[in-house]
Symmetry: C3
Subunit: 354 residues, 3 copies
């Protein structure tokens, strides 16, 4: 008779989490220009700072940084085996700050802290609030964010923990630029090379931008992307089980849609060269292979920094929709409910040369 | 009421071009060995000079060069947003010269000059002739080529420009090898490692080579490739619009077929380690995911260089066909019309050790 | 009338091989961290030593090694044009030893020696036994293995060669660790970062490990992987011919399944950071796009090394199955026949920190 091992990771259940707990996530990851090339191949990103060594150095970077969302996905991916293997749903993001650029050769390590817990009234699931921090090989924080996830209980009879709800900033105030932006000199920024003459001052609050193009998702593409991030969530990779599941198909990793929307946003926001922060993000509806993603953005706010005049910040809402053009800026109806076709609603700050 | 932005790139229409005009294309691109690895993964290219650092250094390269067609595609891709976003068809290539090798870490910037214009008799479209030049970070030209494209007019009432037709060499004479070839010493060239004992002198004008193998195109593959080149032409990526279009499907980037044909040509032309020039190229018929591409080549000419005895040049016609073997060298019928199945007719010069 | 070339590689037929013959395979290959990133993207591998520069250096590597199976596939791929282009079947592997780690920038060259021949009684095919050796740019052996392949005869009338059957170790004894393992110091090995607290001593002979997860294969993924290895076997790439063939579909490269199974085995064997040797491997049934692969492992043996106490070796059987979970460890029935669904049976040694 075979001895059955119990050495597999079964993931944490709701009752396994407690407020204050720290989780060290497995498999640190050295990211390189190879990940950057794959990122371009997967999304067609065209922002000049991440694409061209010459452009990046010309404005004061020591070398071109890797794409901010590539860093986000790698950091996020590390948390999956410990946080969301038994998740029912990813409910939201907040307070995501891109604190330092990541360069080819950096190694990212990730830890998370449990900052809130609330059992649901059905007694079978609960919401876990997590602050995740990604650090480079010098132990400097490159990225931190909060997310909350609905997680199953293994034993519904397990008593509910005390409810702790973290206070989260719904829209972070941006007042100071991070040091790596203060060091930039955009006096020789080339609008021809960056792809647009429109700088920070040219955008108005309330302006709506249709990003025009659409991109159709293939099964192989989202799997290759999601594995690149070493994200192991089962729903993305296993047609044998998902075929018998709720949707009958593999689910696309939500971050894949964020990256598609960001790449599409180049058409209208070519100079938005860097993500400063994500205020909030919601995956409004699931996406599947074969869906064609379009996107539009609204300028929500526009601020200057106290410590540099080289760049300013725009707060954007970028909305992704599927299988319909974004010409009419589909978002919510009068009752505040998302209209059909909306798949992503993202509220974030970008840096743009002034 | 939303303020609609007009900051998107809508591309140039026929009336936006004028002879002598220079266009600086967006998003310079640093290419690295990561792009080289992806290129191998996408096409299975096996030419030893680009594959092996040892082989390349052994014959006098400072380091292995990136694949010539990878360079071509990246340079071509940059021109799309300015030249062919409103194109009806890519009509042809000429005078494409690979002037310098490109190495991992080089940054490619691209400009184009309008060298010809001719409005079509229907008044709705016109042909634009463009000379495109790719330069490295030292501002040295690595590649230049002419292409002509049929572009829509935004306003059919706009008056026709004066017709200017550039004089183009239909088959460039190759007399001198470029400096990077003159510097090579092929005395220790290994036929075992390069994959074939057949050198320049073994090929005869008129010789037809069936490249035997076929490769089936997948949707994810051509999209990953075309995005790697940051080529944004809508027809390659958007099934939502293309599904309702002329073919009902996404169109494969023509350059993808060129790269497949070149990779297939290894079987019979293993020592053709470098492209010197493309004389002419025609995408005879569109290709789609699911098509299986075969190729054959004819030796059109064979010349020596005045400035080196190490390598010689072969002028080749490589023809790609789909969903049929190339055993019988399908090309044109008696009236000069391409026979069914032909998708590409490429006339080019390669370098081969003597 | 066209002159038909005969310069293509038609591959070797059974009668072209003779015992003692050495084959130098074409296209040496420089492998880099770009191949490593693609390998992660294709399989989602999460072993920390190959993923993180910090982790690898921390235990004594000069820099992180590339994945052992990536090296195997590249070396294997080189042999295809000379050994198995006319193969009917890959029958087995033996005596595969990973002798030295391969690092980014190394160039792999491959030779093979014919060590056995046996014509089949039908007179139309024969079995060729080959010992293949991969070397780095310093001519040091990194990998060697034996495989045997059933190859067609071009001329059935060709007389049979003398039968020579090599003696092959069915399960290699592991007594000494290779030098690169002796140099390691695992005192600061982080179980949190490696993903599991279970070390060598925690595994028992007879223990069965269900690796839980399943991964569905896409056509584009296995083609991209197999071309990355420059493996040109026709059956993987040509739907036009395979569609009319025995299975009606392209066959997945068997090594792709090995890599999927190894990546899945992280869940339960996270600390098995290095392959020492493959004793035997059998592709029990063909795989196709759309198949979902699961895997389980059994601990067959457990040994210490005479020359280091830092790491020990586990002998594992890893079995991959398709379209069924591995919960019940499907393998063979009472008659020793593989049960339906089993696609791979691999017997190998891994190193694990003690």
């Amino acid at each position: 008779m075979a001895t059955s091992s119990t050495k597999q990771n079964r993931g944490n259940f709701f009752e396994d989490f407690e407020v204050g707990q720290t989780l060290v996530h497995a498999t640190p990851r050295t990211v390189t220009e190879a990940d950057g090339a794959l990122y371009i191949a997967l999304y067609g990103s065209r922002f000049a700072v991440q694409s061209a060594e010459t452009f990046a150095r010309n404005i004061g970077f020591s070398t071109r940084p890797l794409d901010d969302l590539l860093v986000f996905h790698v950091v996020f991916g590390k948390t999956v085996p410990d946080i969301s293997l038994n998740a029912v749903a990813n409910l939201g993001y907040a307070e995501c700050v891109f604190q330092r650029p990541v360069f080819s050769g950096d190694t990212l390590s990730v830890t998370s802290e449990v900052i809130g817990l609330k059992q649901n009234s059905n007694g079978k699931t609960g919401v876990v609030y997590i602050r995740t921090t990604g650090r480079n090989q010098s132990d400097a924080i490159v990225l931190s964010f909060v997310r909350w996830v609905m997680v199953r209980k293994a034993d519904p009879a397990h008593p509910a923990p005390e409810t702790v709800l973290p206070e989260l900033a719904s829209g972070m105030k941006i007042t100071e630029a991070p040091p790596h932006l203060v060091a930039l000199d955009v006096s020789s920024w080339s609008d021809a090379f960056s792809g647009s003459p429109y700088r920070w001052a040219d955008y108005e609050v309330g302006e709506h931008i249709d990003h025009v193009d659409g991109t159709t998702i293939e099964e192989a593409e989202h799997q290759i992307a999601t594995r690149l991030y070493q994200n192991t969530a089962k729903v993305h990779f296993n047609q044998h089980t998902e075929g018998a599941g709720r949707f009958g198909r593999r689910l696309i990793y939500g971050g894949h849609i964020i990256s598609i929307a960001r790449a599409l946003s180049f058409n209208g926001l070519s100079n938005a060269f860097h993500l400063l922060a994500l205020n909030a993000g919601q995956h409004v509806a699931p996406c599947f292979a074969g869906d064609t993603i379009y996107a539009w953005s609204e300028v929500l706010d526009r601020v200057t920094f106290s410590n540099t005049e080289a760049v300013g910040a725009l707060r954007l809402r970028t909305v992704a929709v599927k299988d319909q053009a974004a010409t009419l800026f589909p978002h919510t109806d009068e009752s505040g409910k998302y209209v059909a076709g909306v798949v992503l609603d993202l509220d974030y700050w970008v840096a743009m040369p002034r």
